[in-house]
């Protein structure tokens, strides 16, 4: 039976956890984990990440706040078999976008494999075929990288594995026609939107 005291305790715990995640206090989150609150913590984390991501995409909360929360939320991530992989397309030598994707997927608790920079299409597809990766998130520098994304999509079709994974592209904006052509899972080029999309699918698997 849930007593009034139990409800108050829960509300207090919830506020403490939320506050620790907002402040990026990883030590506090780890302490709550040791107190056996992992399941409850993950629930609070998911709700907070959803709230912050929506606000971040609307421009009312800075991306830096997501960074701070992600740092504490990673204490809950665990190290399961990767279900997502990230890497930058050939033509994009920059690590920045990939770093943010990595951070946000880890924050959502999604085991992720980092394939590095300028990854050939075959390497992404090997991860799908051999390691059972369900979500492929690639980072592009500009819309000119569409060629490399197109190659990835075509090769997957040829190998008969295109339906085994969702493809998301972050960093560069791609027009609607290209998004449809490449069957992109998420139409938003922002890392926060892509991570949220994967996070929601992963939780509801």
């Amino acid at each position: 039976m849930i007593t009034e005291k139990t409800e108050t305790d829960r509300a207090e715990k919830r506020e403490h956890l939320r506050d620790a995640l907002l402040r990026g206090d990883r030590s506090a989150v780890e302490l709550y984990c040791r107190q056996g609150m992992l399941v409850y913590l993950r629930q609070v984390r998911d709700e907070l990440l959803e709230e912050l991501t929506v606000q971040c995409l609307e421009g009312t909360v800075p991306f830096s706040q997501l960074t701070v929360t992600a740092q504490a939320a990673c204490a809950l991530a665990g190290n399961g078999t990767p279900v997502a992989c990230c890497g930058s397309l050939v033509g994009n030598p920059c690590d920045t976008g990939r770093n943010f994707i990595w951070m946000l997927l880890r924050a959502w608790g999604i085991p992720v494999l980092d394939l590095g920079a300028e990854v050939p299409a075959a390497q992404f597809l090997n991860a799908v075929a051999e390691q059972g990766i369900r979500f492929v998130i690639v980072t592009a520098f500009s819309a000119e990288d569409a060629g490399a994304a197109g190659q990835l999509h075509r090769m997957a079709l040829e190998m008969g594995i295109r339906d085994q994974f969702d493809l998301l592209i972050c960093g560069a904006r791609f027009d609607e026609e290209l998004r449809k052509k490449l069957q992109l899972a998420c139409a938003d080029h922002r890392a926060a939107a892509a991570a949220r999309w994967v996070g929601q699918r992963w939780k509801n698997k």
Partner: protein, 196 residues
Amino acid sequence: MIYDAGRFNLNPERNEVFSWLQCTTEPCRTAFEAEWKPALRLLRKTMTPCGISVRNAPRTLTVFLTLGKDPEEQVTALFRQERYVLGSLLNTLCDEMLFQMDRQMAGFLQRELLSEHLYMAERLEPRVHLSAETLQADFHLLHPSVPFAGITEHGVLFPAKSMMYRIVLSGKPCTVSTLHDCTRCDQPDCLYRSRT
């Protein structure tokens, strides 16, 4: 001409960096404040500022600026260690250093060109004015001085903390600014838009 680390006087501006990161309110600001000093230490340890100017035509200069390859590698290493706030701060600090170098480089060039009675008339930017082919041709002129750097098929430079542009010279004194002009850039999502 090569301008090594000793030529640049780089002083990180905390308010500018925090403003770019938009972490001006709590609780975000406190978390970033706590990493400011470690980020400065890592910045000083990893960056190797270097500027190069090459005259590729009588009235055109190609300018290349870089912090070297170590800062980006350090940022990525921090992300893999789940030190996202420090990594993010170091990443933005590097960008600020690159913009400071850009402003200082304009001063160096201005003074040196004066001895030839030349003035900087216009700045030509990658993607806006310069094609990938032009950028590759320009880059190959200076590549021997920065063997660790490179350029992709689409004209993207690496290491990431680098920039390259052309300056058009004139024999007549010019009053226009030859610093980066955000209004002529095609990157709508750039964090630094209209601030540089």
